[in-house]
C-alpha cells in the first residue's frame, strides 16, 4: 500500500512534469505561431546551406536575408530558413515543409538546378511563386508559371562567355573543359553549341573532370599538346581553382576564361593576385568591383552585415526578393497577385533592370570580368545584354 502510494505520488509527479512540458511546448508553439501571424507576410528561404553547394547557397541565403531585413513599406516578413542539402528529394521535402508551414506568398529557393527541377511540381501544387537564381535553362522552359529567375539562364550567359572569347579576344583554337557535375555538363554542351555557331571548333575538349580531381597536370599536358590559344572552363569552384592554379604553376600563359564560380570571393581567396593574371570569367553581376555608386553602397552594406565580400549570386537573390517585397508593398496580397505582378512589372534593381520575358526569366544582362594580377578584385571588361546574349 505504501509502495502503491509512493508509486502514485511518483506517477503524479511525473504526470505533473509531463503536463508542464506539454504546456510549455504548446506555449512556445502558440508564441511562435503568434509571431508568424504578427508578420505581414510569410516568405521562407529554401536553399542548400550544407553540402558541396553550401558556398553558393550561403551567398544566395545572405542576399535573400538582406532584402527581407529591409522590406519596403514597413512590412514585416517571417522568413524561416530550410536547408535542402544538395539532393533533389531533400529540396522537394524541404519546400513542401516550408510551404505547408504557414500561408506563403512566395519562397526564395535553391541555386541548384537539380533541386529546382524537383521543387517545381511542389510550387505548382501549392500555387506559390519561387524566386531563384538557378541557371539551368529548362526550369523556365517547361511552362511552370510559378518560376521566376533573377540571373540570366545558362543558355544566355554562355553566349556572352563564347562571344567574348571569339569576338573580343580573337581566339579560335579553344581548349574547352568542364567537370562532370550537371552544371558542368550543361554548360559544356551550350558552349560547344555556341562556339560552333561562331564558327569555331575547339581543338581540345574534355568534360570528364571529376570534382575531386587533384592533379590537373595530365589535363594541362593535353591542352599544351593541342596547340590551344585559350582555355575555356565551365565548372564548379574547386576543380576550376585547381586548373587555374596549376596552369600558372606550370608556366602556361594562355588566357583562361571561366564560368562564374571563380568570381566568388571565397574562390579568389585561394590565389595570390599574380596567379589571376590573364584570368577572366563570365558573371551575371560583379558587386565586388563596386562599379557604380548604387552597387558600391549595396556591397558595403553587405560586407558590414555579413563580414564578407558579396558576389553576383547574393546580389541576384537580393534583387529578386526585393522585387517581390516591393510588389507586396504596392499591394500584392496573395501568391496569385504576386505571380501576376512578377510576370508583368519592370523593376529597377541594384544590379540591373528586371523584366520577365513571359517565361519567368527576368534577368538578361551578363558581364565579363578579368583580373590584372595586382588584386583579387576583378575589373569589368565587357557587358552583354538582351539580344547580345542570343545566337541564331
Amino acid at each position: 500500500m505504501k509502495n502503491s502510494a509512493l508509486s502514485t505520488s511518483w506517477r503524479d509527479g511525473r504526470q505533473w512534469r509531463y503536463g508542464s512540458a506539454v504546456m510549455l511546448g504548446l506555449s512556445l508553439v502558440a508564441l511562435s505561431s503568434g509571431l508568424a501571424r504578427s508578420a505581414d507576410a510569410y516568405l521562407p528561404i529554401v536553399m542548400p546551406i550544407t553540402g558541396f553547394l553550401s558556398v553558393e547557397g550561403g551567398s544566395q541565403r545572405n542576399g535573400a536575408v538582406m532584402a527581407l531585413e529591409h522590406a519596403p513599406g514597413g512590412k514585416t516578413i517571417d522568413y524561416p530558413v530550410f536547408d535542402t542539402g544538395t539532393s533533389a528529394t531533400g529540396a522537394a521535402t524541404a519546400l513542401d515543409k516550408a510551404l505547408s508551414n504557414g500561408k506563403p506568398i512566395a519562397a526564395a529557393v535553391s541555386v541548384f538546378g537539380t533541386e529546382m527541377v524537383a521543387m517545381m511540381p511542389v510550387a505548382a501544387e501549392y500555387k506559390v511563386p519561387l524566386l531563384t537564381i538557378s541557371g539551368l535553362a529548362k526550369i523556365t522552359e517547361s511552362d511552370n508559371p510559378y518560376i521566376f529567375r533573377f540571373l540570366p539562364n545558362d543558355r544566355e550567359i554562355k553566349v556572352a562567355h563564347a562571344r567574348y572569347v571569339v569576338e573580343k579576344l580573337k581566339k579560335t583554337k579553344i581548349a574547352l573543359i568542364s567537370d562532370t557535375t550537371a552544371y558542368g555538363q550543361g554548360g559544356f554542351a551550350l558552349l560547344k553549341e555556341d562556339f560552333t555557331k561562331l564558327g569555331v571548333k575547339p581543338v581540345y575538349e574534355d568534360s570528364s573532370i571529376a570534382p575531386d580531381t587533384k592533379d590537373m597536370s595530365p589535363l594541362l599536358a593535353k591542352v599544351k599538346a593541342s596547340g590551344a590559344d585559350a582555355i575555356v572552363v565551365h565548372s564548379v569552384a574547386a576543380p576550376m581553382a585547381l586548373i587555374v592554379k596549376q596552369a600558372k604553376a606550370a608556366g602556361i600563359t594562355l588566357p583562361i576564361i571561366n564560368s562564374s564560380s571563380i568570381v566568388e570571393p571565397t574562390a579568389t581567396a585561394l590565389f595570390e593576385p599574380a596567379e589571376l593574371k590573364d584570368v577572366c570569367a563570365e558573371t551575371p553581376s560583379a558587386p565586388e568591383t563596386r562599379a557604380t555608386p548604387k552597387i558600391k553602397e549595396w556591397a558595403d552594406a553587405y560586407k558590414t552585415r555579413f563580414g564578407l565580400e558579396p558576389d553576383g549570386l547574393a546580389l541576384g537573390q537580393y534583387d529578386g526578393v526585393m522585387m517581390a517585397l516591393t510588389l507586396i508593398a504596392k499591394g500584392a496580397k496573395t501568391p496569385e497577385d504576386l505571380r501576376a505582378a512578377l510576370q508583368k512589372e519592370t523593376y529597377e534593381g541594384v544590379a540591373m533592370t528586371y523584366k520577365s520575358n513571359g517565361k519567368g526569366d527576368l534577368s538578361h544582362d551578363a558581364e565579363i570580368v578579368c583580373w590584372d594580377g595586382t588584386s583579387r578584385i576583378p575589373k569589368v571588361v565587357e557587358h552583354y545584354a538582351g539580344p547580345d546574349m542570343v545566337l541564331k
Partner: protein, 291 residues
C-alpha cells in the same frame, strides 16, 4: 618523353601524399584490425590545422608540421576512446560504422569552424618550381616526397626493428594473448590510433597547399586509402605505399593518354583483376583475412 617523365614525377609526388594517407590507415588496421573510415576526414583535419596555424603564425608549414602531428595524435587518441574502445568486443562492422559517423561529425565541425569553402595552407618551405633540365617540380612536391620518404622509413623501422613495434604487431595479431604476456595492449592501441592519425594529419597539411582543404574533401581519400591497402595487401606497409603509387599514377599518367573518366575506370578494372589473380594483394599473405 619529357612530358611522360614530367607526368611520372607529378604522379609520384601525389602518390607520396597518398602513401602517407594509406600508411596511417594501415597502421591502425595492423594494430587493431579495425577499418577506420574517418581516416580521410582526419586527413582534412590535418589540413585545417595547417590552415589555422599558418594564418596565425604566417610562417612556412615546415616549422609547425610537428605541432600538427601532436594535435592530430591527440585527436587520434580521442577517436580511439570514442569510436573504438567502447565497441572493442563488438563485430568489426560496428567499428566501421562508428568511425564513419565520427567522420560525418568531423565534416560538420569543419563547416562550423572554417565555413564550407575551400582553404589553402601555407607551403612546406616556399612556393615556386625547381628546374631539372626540362623537368619542372614544385618545391612543395619535392618537400612532400622527402617528408613521405622519412616517415615511411621511420614506420618501417618502428614495426620491424623496435620492441614497441613488435608489441604492436603482437597486439594486432592476438590482443588477449598479448595482454596475457604483459603487453599493455590498450595503451598501445590508443597510441596506434594517435600515430596513424598523426600521419593522416601530416598528409593533410602537405596536400592542403596545392590541392586545398574543404569539409567533404576527405571522403575520396578514405576510399583511396582502402583501395591502396587492398591492392598492396591487407596490413602490408610496402603494399600500402605501392598501392597509393598505383592509384596516383593512374590519376596522373594514365589520364594523360585517355580521359579522366576512362583512367578511373581502368583503375577499378585493374583492382578487379588483382582480386581475381591475387586476392591477397601484391604483398599480402594468403592466410590473412580481409575485413
Amino acid at each position: 618523353m619529357i612530358t611522360f617523365l614530367q607526368l611520372v614525377i607529378n604522379g609520384l609526388a601525389l602518390g607520396a601524399a597518398y602513401a602517407l594517407v594509406a600508411l596511417g590507415f594501415v597502421f591502425i588496421v595492423n594494430a587493431t584490425g579495425a577499418v577506420n573510415f574517418a581516416h580521410g576526414d582526419l586527413v582534412m583535419a590535418g589540413g585545417y590545422a595547417a590552415v589555422g596555424l599558418g594564418s596565425l603564425a604566417q610562417i612556412p608549414a615546415v616549422y609547425f608540421l610537428p605541432l600538427v602531428a601532436v594535435i592530430m595524435f591527440v585527436l587520434g587518441v580521442a577517436l580511439a576512446l570514442l569510436a573504438y574502445f567502447p565497441l572493442i568486443n563488438r563485430p568489426p562492422s560496428t567499428v566501421f560504422i562508428s568511425t564513419l559517423l565520427c567522420g560525418i561529425i568531423l565534416q560538420n565541425a569543419f563547416v562550423v569552424l572554417f565555413g564550407p569553402q575551400a582553404h589553402a595552407a601555407p607551403p612546406l618551405l616556399k612556393s615556386g618550381v625547381a628546374h631539372f633540365g626540362e623537368i619542372e617540380i614544385s618545391v612543395q612536391a619535392i618537400g612532400t616526397m622527402v617528408v613521405a620518404a622519412i616517415l615511411i622509413a621511420s614506420q618501417y623501422l618502428l614495426f620491424t626493428r623496435t620492441q614497441i613495434g613488435r608489441r604492436l604487431r603482437a597486439t594486432a595479431e592476438d590482443r588477449q594473448m598479448a595482454q596475457a604476456v604483459g603487453i599493455p595492449a590498450f595503451a598501445l592501441i590508443a597510441a596506434t590510433f594517435g600515430l596513424g592519425t598523426a600521419l593522416a594529419g601530416i598528409a593533410g597539411a602537405l596536400l592542403a597547399n596545392q590541392f586545398f582543404v574543404y569539409p567533404t574533401g576527405g571522403i575520396p581519400l578514405s576510399v583511396y586509402a582502402y583501395i591502396a591497402v587492398v591492392i598492396g595487401g591487407w596490413g602490408s606497409i610496402a603494399g600500402a605505399v605501392i598501392g597509393a603509387m598505383i592509384i596516383s599514377l593512374f590519376q596522373v599518367v594514365v589520364s594523360a593518354y585517355v580521359s579522366y573518366a576512362a583512367a578511373t575506370g581502368l583503375l577499378y578494372v585493374t583492382l578487379l583483376l588483382i582480386f581475381v589473380v591475387r586476392p591477397q594483394g601484391i604483398f599480402g599473405e594468403r592466410v590473412q583475412r580481409r575485413a
